[in-house]
């Protein structure tokens, strides 16, 4: 990444022009969105309670999702990268399938398992009176289901890349496996964990299909910003544009803030 590798004059023309097209492809929609936003009325829409409520819900649920993804995803990634568990390939496939499924399908699968009539949901309802659909925990479940694979895959490759010599040294010095995991393995993989957490958070914040299918749409409980945007398109396009812009700014702020501290982590490649 050092400066002397950047010889712009020698950049092949094909790469340059295709690269420019790619940049335009990403930038144009954002610029167009900013142009279309009715800035003059922005304070009305952004100050409106429904938008604030959806914003709060989105931020809260996506952060909880990210924390849960780290708690469960890091151990899963370790098992996939380091253990001799049989059928690891199959398990990896099963645990990351939700990433490529159409989100609505993920939502239907969640209803089939955790819905009121679902395989497990029925038991939850009968025994504990717990009903997940249409609640805030359902939003988190939907986000976790589609977003956690991003963390698992990123952290798994982090574990696979990091050298095991220090861990072995710690073990020969008498450290317990748990101590090695916590004090040696995790710090060494921290950049990958942060990168995975950011990807997961971003995916969770933008989650729409699985959420509206599994959690429905109820103001204050399950109406997240993406759902509010979609429904605003039906009633007030200006509001939809403003909420979209709000999401762009929110994502941008977080990415820029993180870039300052952990850019190496997000780049990932070493």
């Amino acid at each position: 990444m050092s400066r002397r590798h950047r010889h712009d004059a020698r950049t092949p023309i094909v790469i340059l022009s295709l690269g420019i097209v790619a940049v335009a492809f990403f930038v144009l929609p954002l610029v167009a969105l900013a142009i279309r936003v009715p800035w003059s009325s922005s304070f009305d829409a952004l100050g409106n309670d429904a938008t604030i409520e959806a914003l709060g819900l989105s931020v809260a649920t996506s952060l909880i999702t990210t924390v849960l993804a780290v708690i469960f995803g890091v151990p899963l990634a370790w098992l996939l990268a380091r253990s001799n568990m049989p059928g690891r390939q199959t398990i990896r496939g099963l645990c990351t399938l939700s990433m490529v499924l159409p989100p609505v399908v993920a939502g239907v699968a969640l209803l089939a398992s955790l819905g009121r009539r679902g395989v497990v949901g029925q038991i939850l309802d009968d025994w504990f009176g717990v009903r997940l659909p249409f609640t805030m925990p359902a939003v988190i479940v939907a986000q976790l289901f589609v977003a956690m694979p991003f963390l698992v895959l990123t952290v798994e490759s982090g574990f696979a890349r990091s050298s095991t010599t220090v861990e072995e040294a710690a073990r020969t010095l008498g450290a317990t496996p748990w101590y090695v995991f916590l004090r040696v393995t995790i710090p060494a993989t921290r950049p990958a964990i942060v990168a995975g957490a950011v990807l997961t958070w971003a995916r969770a914040l933008g989650e729409f299909g699985a959420t509206i299918t599994f959690a429905g749409n109820f103001p204050g409980a399950t109406r997240t910003l993406p759902i509010a945007t979609y429904l605003a398109l039906e009633t007030n396009v200006d509001d939809a544009l403003l909420i979209s812009m709000l999401m762009v700014v929110l994502s941008l702020v977080i990415l820029v803030a993180l870039r300052g501290r952990w850019v190496g982590a997000i780049g990932g490649a070493r």
Partner: protein, 242 residues
Amino acid sequence: MRLIARLVLAISLLAACGSGDSSDDGVVVFAASSLVDVLTDLSADDESAFSGAVLSFASSASLAAQVIDGAPVDLIISADRKQIDELVAAGFGTSEPQVIAQNSVVIAVEVGNPLGISSLDDLSRSDVLLAVAAPGVPLGEYSEAMLAAANVDVSPVTFEADARAVLAKVILGEVDAGVVYATDAESSDDVELIRITEGDEVSVEYMALQLSDGSDRAVELLQELLGDRGQQALARRGFGLP
């Protein structure tokens, strides 16, 4: 200079790719999602003008928003006069809007009606989980108006994006009752339909608006919907005729 020449070439090639598609003569129809069965029936019939047409279904409101944003559509059929009025006000439409079918709003419940739901009043019971369409979607507006007129105060657990989504929640058993179009309830064997008591019911008119200039196929489509073949297909799926 060479760089500029190559860039110009690349851009003109890309532009050529883009314009190739517009010569496609497939006629495009936007229709309210409750019409999916009828129009799919028609398009499966080789003799129908709908055979080969590109059909796109969504809530009428989002379809109208797409048209206003420049989607290349020949004919739009909305479940609510409001969207058609908006389109006409925005300068769209190459013909007078026409009513092509009617529908009604009903309550869909699980087969066997285990909770004994028989009227709008039952929807306000605390043991009934209710799904309705979101305000802003035509069905949501109809439902809201109907419940308000009947003085029934409900607390739905979810406001779904369109009629089919409400029905899906009832079919999956996630809610006990959903307010849907009669045709949607009739399309599924997994739900039972509870009609609204006379006096409280609302009637729904489907309106078609031709959008393209001088497209003979759009005219043909509209004529077919109003003619025997179209009206029979609509009646078969439970729609009322205009």
